[in-house]
């Protein structure tokens, strides 16, 4: 009896001891170390995201702390207001054009350039820094240079001569968005090259040697060894370039002076700024933001599904 009783008494306490730490995971200290970042994510990302969803479904505007205002639930009214505005629809089309140009161009150019840089033996540091500098330079400064290059009497048009588009690139409704896509591709390239360079260090040399033994040339090795070898990095580049591209703001704000010409380069985030901050309608701006987040998530899931493979 005693043994039985004792056993019955000790069993729960043992379970309790086992359960205790499990609430905080197998390694509670790890949670402690990750807590600052968790708090950062909650405060800076999760909370604003949840709050934006709340704003999108309410008649909401920013108020002074003492002001008493009614903020009724309005269902989908903000979404209807936003997406019956042709400018909003157009902005999503614009960013679609941007992504179609920017994302594939980013992936292809950065993997090719990274492969090239990986093989460079002389002036390696110089080349790597040269590609990385535009990424580090403030957008405002770089935009100013591009404005001089691509304006009507700029260097690019002088070189092209009669082939230059009219009106010029940044005020041409057909060329404004592709010009921005090209600018962003160039500006961000250094970062993505760096990702690929890191990934390339993990591709075993033996694979290249084996491919050479089998008679593969440089192009064959690139497609059969390099591309599959850096697949995780490609997925990352796809995701990051899509997410940052969908958040396009600075370039249409500065390069085409507020999404011009005629809204041909207006992005959803620029419209969110105009509607939410300039015009005092954060509810409509949040509705645009929520739809943008959902669309980006869908695209990211598709990219992960089709480009990610089993990784």
């Amino acid at each position: 009896m005693t043994t039985t009783t004792g056993g019955a008494e000790t069993a729960p306490s043992t379970i309790a001891k086992r359960r205790g730490p499990r609430i905080l995971g197998k390694h509670p200290l790890g949670l402690l170390f990750s807590a600052p970042y968790l708090v950062f994510v909650l405060v800076v990302f999760a909370y604003p995201l949840v709050y934006a969803v709340y704003i999108a479904f309410h008649d909401y505007f920013f108020t002074a702390p003492g002001a008493v205002v009614d903020r009724p639930f309005v269902g989908l009214a903000n979404f209807v207001d936003a997406f019956t505005d042709p400018d909003v629809i157009r902005s999503f089309g614009n960013v679609g054009i941007f992504l179609i140009i920017n994302v594939p161009l980013t992936v292809v150019l950065s993997i090719v350039l990274a492969s090239g840089l990986n093989k460079v033996t002389h002036l390696k540091a110089f080349y790597r820094v040269a590609y990385y500098i535009p990424y580090l330079t403030a957008s405002v400064a770089v935009v100013a240079v591009w404005l001089f290059l691509f304006n009507g009497s700029g260097l690019v048009n002088q070189i092209l001569g009669p082939l230059a588009p009219s009106p010029s690139w940044l005020i041409n409704s057909h060329w404004a968005m592709p010009s921005i896509a090209l600018f962003v591709t160039w500006k961000q390239m250094g970062f993505y090259i760096l990702l690929y360079l890191a990934a390339l260090q993990n591709v075993p040399n033996e694979l290249y040697e084996a491919a050479s033994t089998d008679g593969a040339g440089a192009i064959r090795k690139f497609f059969s060894v390099t591309v599959p070898g850096v697949r995780p990095a490609t997925v990352l580049v796809l995701l990051v370039s899509t997410v940052t591209g969908a958040n396009l703001f600075t370039e249409p704000y500065l390069l085409t002076n507020g999404g011009g010409p005629n809204g041909a380069s207006t992005s959803p985030v620029l419209l969110m700024y105009q509607k939410g901050i300039e015009q005092g309608h954060p509810d409509e701006a949040s509705a645009i933001g929520v739809v943008l987040v959902v669309l980006v998530l869908v695209i990211a899931l598709l990219q992960n599904r089709f480009a990610g493979g089993k990784d």
């Binding site: 909650l42 702390p65 001089f148 009106p167 011009g260 300039e278 015009q279």
Partner: protein, 428 residues
């Protein structure tokens, strides 16, 4: 693993709920109209206004040790309006801001950030005594003053006399008063190759750019009509169509550029004319310039021509604890003496009925400013209300499409913009 997920999930939801609970506002402005004590003010960051602001604050503080005023430049941001709007939401606005844009005030009132100056016992009386009927444009829909009409920068046409002479034009009496004369003069300037653009207002998409191409000319052509009056657009009338068609001709004939110049086109000789306020007198010291009122279809005498005010006002904010002191300081800073100092320091026009006579000495010593001083009594302001910026953006989008880039019909474009603006004006 599931438990940990639930734990983290619960934390996220809890954080969100705390945030959402905190959303609902309550209480009221803690300031009082009669409270006295130290206050903070913000002023513009241009060199001249900073100098005036510092001197005015120092003069006040000398005589009011118990009601000390602390002045500083408006904190840096994309625009002053964004900074002020953010400070309202954060509850840390200063008592007074000497640089509020009339286009933004309606939003700030809606936010509960502005003090109704009419509530001071002598509020409306003081404003109207100083600014006369011009103050009417700064009342809200209920006839209250949430902004103090402070100064205007009536815009006019500046022209480069040297370039005019180079093109063989009469630089002392330029033909710029009618649309036809202006266009012919512009054509001569460009055809003679003295400048790539006759005039180059920023052809960009920002809402406020309409104030420096369409609006001054519409004000002049319509005899001083606001863009929106009694909740209805006014610009879809013959005066609006004529002003818009005038600009469309300039763009279509390549007399005005469709691309923004990276720099100051007038100072760099890339444009022979510019639409500017009195601030330009000190800025264009190196240009041999002349000034004329903006053109109208058939020409209007200078003393009958209206234009856009480009005014900046003073706002008092509900975060202010000592509103009594703030009102006293506001009156002190806009007294006859301090307005004179402001005029002398900045060259901008205090919004006073008696400007030309009160400061006759100043205008006789500074003849460059005389036309601006005279023009200051005939200015038109942007419409009031919480959706002013959205209304101006709707206009700018239509303008950009049909006038700058010549797509479609100007009349249809302005009519469509008017419909959209009427809807916005009807929204609370």
């Amino acid at each position: 693993m599931q438990r940990r997920t639930k734990f983290i999930g619960a934390a996220v939801v809890a954080a969100a709920m705390i945030g959402l609970t905190a959303c609902s506002g309550g209480g009221s402005s803690s300031g009082s109209l009669t409270a006295k004590g130290p206050i903070k003010i913000w002023y513009s960051n241009n060199e001249q206004e900073v100098a005036w602001g510092k001197a005015t604050v120092a003069a006040w503080n000398k005589d009011h040790p118990d009601e000390k005023v602390t002045g500083q430049e408006i904190p840096a941001g994309k625009t002053s309006e964004e900074v002020i709007g953010a400070s309202i939401t954060a509850g840390n606005s200063p008592c007074l801001v000497y640089n509020t844009a009339p286009s933004a005030v309606g939003q700030w009132v809606k936010q509960g950030g502005m003090v109704d100056l009419s509530k001071f016992s002598d509020g409306a009386k003081y404003i109207e005594a100083r600014s006369g009927s011009q103050a009417d444009q700064y009342k809200d829909a209920d006839g209250e003053y949430y902004q103090f009409p402070w100064k205007s920068n009536p815009v006019m046409i500046f022209y480069n006399k040297d370039l005019f002479k180079k093109a063989g034009l009469d630089a002392d009496n330029p033909k710029l008063s009618t649309y036809a004369d202006f266009t012919a003069t512009a054509k001569t300037l460009v055809d003679k190759g003295v400048a790539p653009n006759a005039i180059l207002p920023a052809p960009t998409s920002e809402f406020f750019q309409m104030s420096f191409d369409f609006y001054p000319l519409y004000a002049a052509e319509s005899g001083g009509t606001q863009l929106v009056k009694d909740g209805k657009s006014t610009f879809n009338d013959q005066a609006g169509y004529d002003a818009a068609n005038f600009w469309r001709t300039l763009y279509a004939d390549k007399l005005a550029g469709q691309e923004k110049y990276q720099g100051d086109a007038f100072a760099d000789g890339k444009a022979a004319m510019a639409i500017v306020g009195p601030w330009a007198v000190s800025v264009y010291k190196d240009v041999n310039w002349g000034s004329v009122p903006v053109p109208t279809k058939n020409g209007t005498a200078a003393d009958k021509t209206y234009t856009f005010s480009d005014a900046k006002n003073v706002g008092m904010f509900t975060a202010c604890q000592n509103q009594g002191t703030a009102w006293d300081f506001l009156k002190f800073s806009t007294s006859t003496g301090n307005d004179q100092k402001f005029l002398e320091t900045t060259g901008q026009m205090p919004m006073r009925t008696d400007l030309a006579t009160t400061y006759a000495d100043y205008f006789s010593k500074n003849p460059s400013y005389k036309l601006f001083g005279d023009q200051a009594s005939r200015t038109v302001e942007v419409p009031s209300g919480p959706n002013t910026v959205a209304e101006m953006q709707a206009f700018r989008d239509a303008w950009s499409d049909s006038v700058i880039f010549g797509k479609g019909d100007v009349k249809t474009s302005l009519d469509d913009a008017a419909t959209k603006i009427d809807q916005l004006a009807a929204e609370k």
